[in-house]
C-alpha cells in the first residue's frame, strides 16, 4: 500500500504540472465563456473507498454529480467527477451562452462538466506528452436521487485512488463547482512512471 504513495518530489512535480495546466485551462475557459474562471489550488491525496463515500456522501448540498472517464497513452486513466451544489445551477445556460429554453438543466450541467473536464485534461495531457480520450459524460445523481444513494449501491473493486480536487469559481455568475479526478489504484504506478521520467529529464 505504501509503495503506491507519491514521495515528496513526485508530489511536488505532479502539483507543478497541474498548476501549469490549471493556468492554461483557466485562460481557455475565460475566452470561451467570456468571463473570468478561477481555479483554486488543488489538493492531491490518496483516498480509500471508504473516504470517497464520506467525502461525496456526507455533503448533503451536493445535488448533482457528473462522471466522465478519461484515458490516454502509458496507462494514464481515471474518472472525473464534477460536483455541483443546487443553488449554483440557476444561471448555467446564461454562462454557457445558450438560451435557457434551448436545453434542460441536466443538459446544461452535463455540457459544462464536459467542457471543464476536457479543457483541463487536454492541457494536462499536453504537459506530460500525452493525449486524452473521453467517455460520454453521465449524470450520476440529480436533484432526485442523492449521491450517497448512488454510492451506497456500489461495491467498489478498488481500495485506493489518487484524488486531485480542483475548485472552479466563476464569480461573475456566483458559480462554484468541484472537479475531482480519481486515478484508480491500477493506474497510480503508471502516472508515477511518467512523473519519474519528467523528474529525470530535469
Amino acid at each position: 500500500m505504501s509503495e503506491l504513495n507519491l514521495n515528496e518530489d513526485q508530489q511536488d512535480c505532479l502539483q507543478e504540472i497541474i498548476n501549469v495546466a490549471m493556468g492554461q485551462a483557466s485562460d481557455q475557459l475565460a475566452r470561451y465563456l467570456d468571463t473570468f474562471v478561477y481555479l483554486k489550488v488543488p489538493s492531491i491525496e490518496q483516498v480509500s473507498t471508504l473516504s470517497l463515500i464520506e467525502t461525496l456522501g456526507s455533503n448533503e448540498n451536493s445535488a448533482s454529480v457528473v462522471s466522465q472517464g478519461f484515458f490516454g497513452y502509458e496507462g494514464i486513466r481515471g474518472e472525473a467527477l464534477l460536483v455541483y451544489k443546487p443553488k449554483d445551477s440557476d444561471r448555467l445556460a446564461d454562462l454557457l451562452g445558450y438560451e435557457p429554453d434551448e436545453l434542460s438543466v441536466e443538459e446544461q450541467i452535463i455540457d459544462l462538466s464536459s467542457i471543464l473536464t476536457t479543457t483541463f485534461l487536454n492541457v494536462f495531457a499536453k504537459q506530460i506528452d500525452n493525449q486524452m480520450s473521453y467517455s460520454a459524460p453521465r449524470l450520476l445523481a440529480g436533484s432526485q436521487s442523492a449521491v450517497s444513494d448512488h454510492l451506497a449501491q456500489q461495491s467498489f473493486n478498488w481500495d485506493l485512488a489518487l484524488k486531485v480536487k480542483i475548485t472552479y469559481q466563476v464569480t461573475d455568475y456566483s458559480f462554484n463547482c468541484d472537479m475531482i479526478l480519481f486515478i484508480p489504484e491500477s493506474a497510480i504506478n503508471n502516472i508515477k512512471a511518467v512523473i519519474n521520467r519528467i523528474l529525470e529529464e530535469f
Binding site: 470561451y32 452535463i110 455540457d111
Partner: protein, 319 residues
C-alpha cells in the same frame, strides 16, 4: 491494401455515422452508413450547408456546441437521454420499437486537417435499442414506486407511505415552527355494513368515501388509508380552527354521500378525531395517538361527530 484503403473500407463498413463539417458548417464528408440511413445521394449532401441538408437540426444550439469544439479543441457529447436525436434518420428496429427516428448518441471531435483548416467530425451512434429498453425500465420503476405508495383498493396513499409523509411533515413543522394538523376518521358500524351488503358493498363504500374526501382537500393535504375503514389526513400549515372546519366538512360530506350498490342505497357516517402539533409532541406518533384518542371520544359520544384532542379543548375555548 494500403493503410488508407483499409481506413476507407472500415469507414464504409462501420455501423456508426461519420459526418465532417468545416468551420462554415459545410459538409465535407459523410460515410456510407449515413448515406443509407438518411437515404440521400452523396452528391446532394457533400459540399452543402449542414442546416440546409438537415433542416431539423437545432441551429442555434448546435452552432454553440460546435463552436466549443473548434475553440477549446476538445470533444463534446450529446446523449439520447437529453436529446432523443439530432438527425432525423431511419433505424434498425422500425417494427419492434415505437421510435419514429433513430435515437442517437453523438460525439463531436475536433479535427485538424493537413492544410491547417479546422473541421469537426460528428460521430452518430444508433442507440434506439438502449433508449427503448431504458424507457421501459424507467416506466416500470415509476410504476413500482407508485404501487408502493398507493392503496390498491381506494387509490389513495397506503399506510406506509402516508406515515412517511407524516414523519417528514412533522419534522418540518417542528424545525420551522409551522402549524400541522391531523384528522383521523373511521366509518361508523362498518362491520354491520359488511354483514348487510357483503364485502363488495363494503369495498364500494371505502372507494366512494375516498373519492368524495379527495375532492374536498387542498393540494398540499396528504390523504391516506390508515387501516381497514380508518382514514387519515395530514394538513400542513393548518391550525386547529382550520382543521376543525375541514373535519366538519368531511363529516357532513360522508353523511350526505349516498352510495348506490346493486338495488340499495347505502348511507354511512364517520367519527372524526382532530389534533394539531404542540410543543409536547416529540415524535410524529404522538400526534397520531392524540388524533386517535379524539376519534375514540367521537365514537364514545355517539358517533357521526367531530372531537378534538383533549389538550386542545382549552385552546379552542379561549379562541
Amino acid at each position: 491494401m494500403s493503410p488508407n484503403d483499409i481506413c476507407t473500407d472500415i469507414t464504409n463498413k462501420l455501423n456508426t455515422g461519420i459526418l465532417i463539417i468545416d468551420n462554415q458548417y459545410n459538409i465535407v464528408f459523410w460515410n456510407r452508413y449515413l448515406e443509407i440511413h438518411a437515404n440521400r445521394k452523396t452528391d446532394d449532401v457533400v459540399g452543402y450547408n449542414i442546416f440546409q441538408v438537415f433542416p431539423e437540426l437545432p441551429q442555434k444550439w448546435l452552432k454553440r456546441k460546435v463552436e466549443s469544439v473548434f475553440q477549446l479543441k476538445s470533444q463534446s457529447f450529446c446523449s439520447w437521454e437529453q436529446r432523443h436525436h439530432l438527425f432525423e434518420l431511419q433505424h434498425t428496429r422500425p417494427i419492434s420499437t415505437n421510435s419514429h427516428f433513430m435515437a442517437q448518441n453523438c460525439t463531436f471531435l475536433p479535427l485538424e486537417r493537413k492544410d491547417g483548416s479546422d473541421n469537426v467530425c460528428i460521430l452518430i451512434e444508433d442507440v434506439t435499442d438502449v433508449c427503448h429498453y431504458q424507457t421501459m425500465l424507467n416506466k416500470t420503476l415509476e410504476e413500482l414506486a407508485q404501487a408502493n405508495r398507493i392503496d390498491g383498493l381506494t387509490q389513495i396513499f397506503n399506510r406506509k407511505h402516508w406515515e412517511e409523509c407524516l414523519e417528514k411533515e412533522f419534522s418540518r413543522a417542528r424545525r420551522y415552527q409551522h402549524g400541522l394538523a391531523l384528522i383521523m376518521f373511521d366509518l361508523d358500524h362498518f362491520k354491520l355494513l359488511n354483514d348487510t351488503y357483503g364485502h363488495l358493498g363494503g369495498d364500494l363504500v371505502l372507494i366512494e368515501t375516498a373519492k368524495v374526501i379527495s375532492s374536498l382537500l387542498r393540494l398540499g393535504d396528504l390523504f391516506g388509508r390508515y387501516g381497514g375503514e380508518e382514514f387519515a389526513i395530514i394538513l400542513p400549515n393548518t391550525d386547529i380552527v382550520g382543521a376543525l372546519d375541514v373535519a366538519e366538512r368531511i363529516r357532513i360530506a360522508i353523511s350526505k354521500n349516498i352510495i348506490n350498490f346493486q338495488e340499495s342505497e347505502i348511507k354511512v357516517t364517520a367519527s372524526v378525531g382532530v389534533a394539531v402539533i404542540s410543543k409536547e409532541d416529540k415524535r410524529h406518533e404522538d400526534l397520531i395517538s392524540n388524533a386517535d384518542l379524539a376519534l375514540y371520544d367521537a365514537k364514545a359520544s355517539g358517533r357521526n361527530m367531530v372531537c378534538v384532542a383533549k389538550q386542545l379543548v382549552e385552546v379552542i375555548k379561549t379562541e
